[in-house]
C-alpha cells in the first residue's frame, strides 16, 4: 500500500456559513502524516464543521482542502477511499447488533460474506466486544458504543481517521481506553485528526494542536509551545476566610505577575503559573506564592496545581472565555 510522505491534510481559507451563522471563517490547517493532530475549542467553535468539510460531508463555501493530495470537493471519492470518520453522534445503526453493523460495513468495503464475517469477528475481539456481538447497539454502554464506533471506522484500515470529540460524555475509564486505542492506531501509521474540548486530552494525544475559535485558528503549535504561551498550569486556592480574599489577590498578583481570577465561590481564586514571563517553573512559582500567603497570615484550606482549563486557555489567547453554542443544530437547521 502506498503511504504518501506529504501532509495528510492541507486546508487553506476554508469558509462555511449556515444561514447567518459563520461556522468557518477561513481555517488554515496543515496536518503532517502519521501524527495525531488536535483541534481544540469550545462547542460551536467550528471544529465539527471543519471535520465535516474535510470528511467530504459538507461543501465549503470558499477555500480549498486536500487530503493526501486529493481535493475534498472535486476528488471526494478518492478522499473517501482513504479516510473514515467517527462522528459525535451514533455512527453505527442502533437497531442492529455489533456483529451485523461491522459485517454490513465490511461488505460495503467489498469483502465477500465469509471474509466480512471474519473481519467483523476479529475486530470485535480486538475491541473486547465479543460477548456483546449479538446484542443490539442501543443496549451498549457509553464506552462500548464508542468502541464499536471506532471499530467501524478502522475496518478499512484508513490512512486518516477523524475522531470528533471521541471522549465527550465518557467515564474516566472508558476515556482511557479510547486514548489507548488512539495511540495504537497511530503507532500503526494512521494519521488521526481529533477534536476535543479538553486541553489535557489534546496534550496527552496530539503532536500538534490548533486552537479554534469562531471558525478561525487562533493559535497553533506543539502542546509545549502552546502551554508556554498560555502558562503550563493553573493554581486554584480556597481560603478559610472570604474577608482575606482581596489581600490574597494582591499578594498572588505580586508573586506571579499575572492577573488573578476571582471565582464565583467567595473563598476561591485561580491564577495561571508557569507562563513565558517567568524563569521559575510552575511548581516553584506556586510554592513561592503559597509561602507569601502563609507569611501574611492568610489560611489556605485547599489548593491544587493543575493544567489550565479550556476557559483559561481562551482567556489567555483571546481575552474572552470559551463561548458555547450547538454547532450541529445550527447546521441541521440551516441545511434544510
Amino acid at each position: 500500500m502506498k503511504r504518501t510522505t506529504g501532509p495528510a491534510i492541507e486546508a487553506e481559507g476554508l469558509t462555511r456559513s449556515f444561514g447567518d451563522t459563520r461556522a468557518l471563517a477561513g481555517i488554515d490547517l496543515r496536518v503532517p502524516a502519521g501524527t495525531v493532530y488536535g483541534l481544540l475549542g469550545p462547542n460551536g467553535a467550528g471544529k465539527t464543521t471543519a471535520v465535516r468539510v474535510l470528511a467530504t460531508l459538507l461543501r465549503p463555501d470558499g477555500g480549498r482542502a486536500r487530503v493526501f493530495g486529493h481535493d475534498v470537493v472535486t476528488e471526494a471519492d478518492a478522499v473517501r477511499a482513504r479516510m473514515s470518520l467517527t462522528g459525535q453522534y451514533a455512527s453505527v445503526d442502533e437497531d442492529l447488533t455489533g456483529l451485523e453493523n461491522l459485517m454490513l460495513l465490511a461488505r460495503l468495503l467489498g469483502h465477500r460474506k465469509p471474509a466480512a464475517r471474519e473481519r467483523a469477528e476479529g475486530m470485535l475481539a480486538a475491541f473486547g466486544l465479543t460477548d456483546a456481538a449479538d446484542r443490539q447497539v442501543k443496549k451498549y454502554s457509553g464506552g462500548m458504543r464508542r468502541r464499536i464506533d471506532i471499530a467501524a471506522s478502522i475496518l478499512n484500515t484508513p490512512d486518516l481517521l477523524f475522531l470528533d470529540e471521541p471522549t465527550t460524555g465518557l467515564d474516566p475509564r472508558s476515556r482511557n481506553q479510547v486514548w489507548e486505542i488512539v495511540r495504537a492506531v497511530v503507532a500503526h501509521g494512521t494519521t488521526v485528526l481529533l477534536t476535543t474540548q479538553y486541553l489535557d486530552e489534546a496534550d496527552q494525544l496530539a503532536g500538534r494542536i490548533a486552537v479554534v475559535d469562531h471558525g478561525r485558528v487562533i493559535a497553533e503549535g506543539t502542546p509545549g509551545e502552546l502551554k508556554s504561551s498560555v502558562g503550563s498550569g493553573s493554581i486554584h486556592l480556597r481560603l478559610r476566610d472570604p474577608g482575606q480574599r482581596p489581600e490574597a489577590e494582591r499578594l498572588l498578583q505580586a508573586a506571579l505577575g499575572v492577573p488573578v481570577q476571582l471565582e464565583p465561590d467567595p473563598v476561591a481564586l485561580t491564577a495561571r503559573v508557569g507562563g513565558a514571563g517567568s524563569d521559575l517553573d510552575a511548581s516553584a512559582q506556586a510554592a513561592r506564592a503559597l509561602g507569601d500567603l502563609a507569611h501574611a497570615g492568610i489560611v489556605v484550606d485547599d489548593f491544587s496545581l493543575g493544567q489550565p482549563s479550556l476557559d483559561e486557555v481562551f482567556l489567555a489567547l483571546t481575552d474572552h472565555p470559551a463561548v458555547t453554542s450547538d454547532e450541529r443544530d445550527d447546521e441541521l437547521e440551516a441545511a434544510r
Binding site: L58, A90, S91, L105
Partner: protein
C-alpha cells in the same frame, strides 16, 4: 428477603491491547470497491435486519390494509353496488393500490429518522455507488409492499373476491403495483431529505396521498363526477395504475393505462431520483 442484591457478575474490564489492534489494522489487500448492485443489495440486507429486530414495523403493512379492505367494502358496498360482494369485485384492486401507495410514505419517514440519528454520515463517507443506501432502503420497502399486497389479496379472497385473470393476472397486477411503488418512493426520499422532522414528512405525505388516492377511480366510477374533477381524475397516475391493475386481474388488458403507469413510474424515478441525489450530495 435479603437486600443483598447481586449487582450481576463483575464485568471484566476491557484493556486495549496494542498487539490485538495492530493485527486487525494490518493493511492486507483492500478488496475492490463493491459494484452498484452489490452495494444496494447490502443495504437491502440492512433493511431486512431492521425488520428482524423491530418486527412491530410490519404492523402497518398487515393490520392497516386489512382494516382498509373491511371498512370500505362494508361501508360503500351496499350503497354503491348491489352487495358488498359485488362491490369487492370492482374495489379490491383499487384498495390494494391505495394501501400500498400509502405505505410508500414510510420510506420518507424512515430516511428522515435515519439521518437524524447520524448513521448516514458513515454511509456518505464510504467509497461506494452514491445512491446505494437509498436504493437498498427502497429494496427493503418493496418487500413490505409485496407483503401488504398479498395480505389484501388474501382478505379479498376470503370475502369473496374472484379475479378472472387467475394467478397470472394477479401476479401481473401486483408486479405493476410494485414497479409503480418503487418509483413513487423516490418522491418520499426527496421529502425525507428536505423536510425538518418526521412529523412534517408525515404531514406532507398525507396532503399528497389523500387527494391522490381518493380523487381517482379507486372507490367509484369517475363518470358520476363533475367534469372538472373528471379532468383531474383522468390525469392522476393512481387512476392509470388502478385501471391497469384492474384490467390484468380481471383477465383483460388496458394497454393505454399500462403505458401511462410505466411512463409515470419512469418520470418519478428520473425527476425525484435526481432531486433526491442532488439533495443527498449537497448536504
Amino acid at each position: 428477603m435479603s437486600n443483598a442484591t447481586t449487582t450481576g457478575r463483575a464485568p471484566s474490564v476491557y484493556v486495549p491491547s496494542a498487539e490485538a489492534l495492530s493485527t486487525v489494522l494490518a493493511p492486507g489487500a483492500r478488496p475492490p470497491r463493491p459494484n452498484a448492485l452489490s452495494a444496494s443489495l447490502t443495504f437491502g440486507w440492512r433493511a431486512l435486519l431492521k425488520i428482524k429486530h423491530v418486527p412491530e414495523q410490519l404492523f402497518d403493512v398487515t393490520a392497516f390494509p386489512i382494516i382498509m379492505v373491511l371498512m370500505f367494502t362494508y361501508l360503500f358496498g351496499g350503497a354503491l353496488a348491489d352487495s358488498p360482494r359485488d362491490y369487492l369485485q370492482f374495489f379490491l384492486p383499487g384498495i390494494m393500490v391505495t394501501s400500498v401507495v400509502m405505505i410508500t410514505m414510510y420510506t420518507g419517514i424512515g430516511l428522515n429518522t435515519d439521518i437524524e440519528k447520524g448513521v448516514f454520515d458513515r454511509f456518505r463517507t464510504l467509497s461506494i455507488w452514491r445512491p446505494a443506501p437509498l436504493v437498498g432502503m427502497i429494496f427493503g420497502d418493496v418487500l413490505r409492499y409485496v407483503l401488504a399486497a398479498v395480505v389484501i389479496l388474501c382478505v379479498g379472497l376470503v370475502l369473496g373476491f374472484r379475479p378472472d385473470g387467475g394467478l397470472p393476472g394477479v401476479l401481473a397486477g401486483i408486479g405493476l403495483l410494485v414497479v409503480f411503488s418503487f418509483a413513487f418512493s423516490w418522491v418520499w426520499t426527496f421529502f425525507g431529505l428536505v423536510l425538518r422532522s418526521e412529523k412534517s414528512v408525515m404531514g406532507v405525505s398525507m396532503m399528497v396521498l389523500f387527494p391522490l388516492t381518493f380523487l381517482s377511480n379507486v372507490f367509484v366510477d369517475p363518470a358520476t363526477m363533475p367534469g372538472w374533477l373528471q379532468a383531474f381524475v383522468k390525469v392522476n397516475p393512481i387512476t392509470q395504475l388502478v385501471a391497469s391493475v384492474r384490467a390484468v386481474m380481471s383477465g383483460t388488458s388496458d394497454p393505454s393505462a399500462t403505458m401511462w403507469t410505466l411512463l409515470w413510474s419512469a418520470g418519478f424515478v428520473v425527476v425525484f431520483g435526481t432531486l433526491t441525489m442532488y439533495r443527498y450530495n449537497r448536504r
